[in-house]
Amino acid sequence: MEYEFHWNIVFQKMPELLSGAFVTLHVSVLAMLLGIVIAILLAIAKMNNSKPFCYVATVWVEIARNTPALFQIYMAYFGLGAFGIHLSPYVAVLSALVFINAGYLTETFRGGFQSIPSTQYSASKSLGMTSIQTYRYIILPQMLRRIYHPMTNQFVWSILMSSLGILVGMSELSGTTQRLQSLSFRTLEFFIVAAVMYFIITKLVLFGASLLSRRLFKGEI
């Protein structure tokens, strides 16, 4: 027996899918921004060798990078729930993504920072630049070029991983798709359309990122 496609129902539900997609973008952007802020702090902590901070940062990075995202989300939703801390699905997924983004980006930032040769510091110092000027004009611009692509990839990864929200009943794109297909039994149609939407979102993000990088980084490195 052949499967008969019925697309009408999917298109009727398009507004709901689109609002799911909006939640997907929303949670990913937020997870990225918070992840960046925390990663900057963790990277500084790791590089400063100040014992307690360095220890916290190392544990954070190791857990985030070496356990599945699924596990992080379960821990945030059910794990904390067992201790009486009930997060909404949105907040649970957001916290898990922030946790992982921060872990990965810490290493990205640390690597970017350490890849700037020390001769760049002595060169700018010898020209009479203050430390702040050295970072502002010499170190950070070079670092930003080196971490830009890893950061873009991390963002795309966040968008795709937020689909695990389906497991805790979050109404982002996957969760919404799941609910709509179970009501209509048009499983394949809904998931195909959702997949296409993910594809379009990530392609748009990558396209935007490459446009931006051409405006930001005129020099080569």
Binding site: P117, A123, S126, L127, G128
Partner: protein, 240 residues
């Protein structure tokens, strides 16, 4: 004038400068020669306060370099420095490299900074490279850029640390020519160098460093061609 007075400098247990004294009057070109690890670079770093000293004193135009009250960033504006390793700012064009410090350190207007940068780049023969990125240039061009970048700050002194030793042999000449030009214009310079011909012909005096002390210092031709100290003689016979 740069005046180095009985300077001692250690890295941990390793004493690198063991009581160095040296006066470089304005307009003089002093070449510093000596074996690897004898402390030549360290001396330059101490003069512009990139490194601290353990004891002694360094005066640049009567300003005590290592005094707590000295504004080191301000002091370094007087001391142009060029290093052995290429260190152009790779994210900026040649012109931006040379115009940056005049603009942000000396607070010149953008137009003024660019004018000075262009002038100094032309000075070292890079007048056709303003919009090129330094990574696209040869080592010799990158070193000349480093010289122009330092000159754009209008320093009173230039400290040059083996600026030709990372270069392919055929590129050494163009950089030495640039230094010769500066010497002729009366720039006060301390050049750490392995180029004995340059030391002999271009500098007024030569100092030979041996294990953290100045073993011999004197008129350039005399030190290079008729060294008095047996250590200098031995060193020169090896590098020839």
């Amino acid at each position: 004038m740069i005046s180095v007075q009985n300077v001692h400098k250690s890295f941990g247990d390793l004493e690198v400068l063991k009581g160095v004294s040296l006066d470089v009057p304005n307009g003089e070109v002093l070449s510093v020669i000596g074996g690897s690890g004898s402390g030549k670079s360290t001396l330059l770093y101490c003069i512009n306060a990139i490194e601290t000293i353990n004891s002694g004193k360094i005066l640049v135009d009567d300003v005590d370099v290592h005094s707590k009250d000295t504004n080191k960033d301000k002091l370094r504006q007087k001391l142009g420095m060029v290093f052995q390793h290429f260190n152009a700012f790779p994210h900026m064009t040649v012109l931006e490299n040379a115009a940056l410090a005049p603009r942000i350190v000396k607070k010149m207007s953008k137009e003024e900074a660019i004018e000075i940068a262009k002038k100094e780049l032309e000075h070292v023969g890079l007048g056709d490279k303003f919009d090129v990125y330094p990574t696209r240039m040869s080592g010799g061009q990158q070193q000349r850029l480093a010289i122009a970048r330092a000159l754009a700050m209008k320093p009173d002194f230039m400290l040059l640390d083996e600026v030709t030793s990372a270069l392919d042999p055929e590129l050494v000449g163009e950089v030495l020519d640039t230094l010769r030009l500066l010497a002729d214009e009366g720039m006060t310079m301390i050049c750490v160098t392995h180029e004995m011909g340059f030391a002999r012909d271009v500098s007024d005096r030569v100092a030979y460093f041996h294990q953290g002390v100045i073993a011999e210092i004197g008129e350039a031709k005399q030190v290079i061609t008729e060294p008095q100290n047996p250590l200098t003689q031995k060193f020169l016979s090896k590098v020839r």
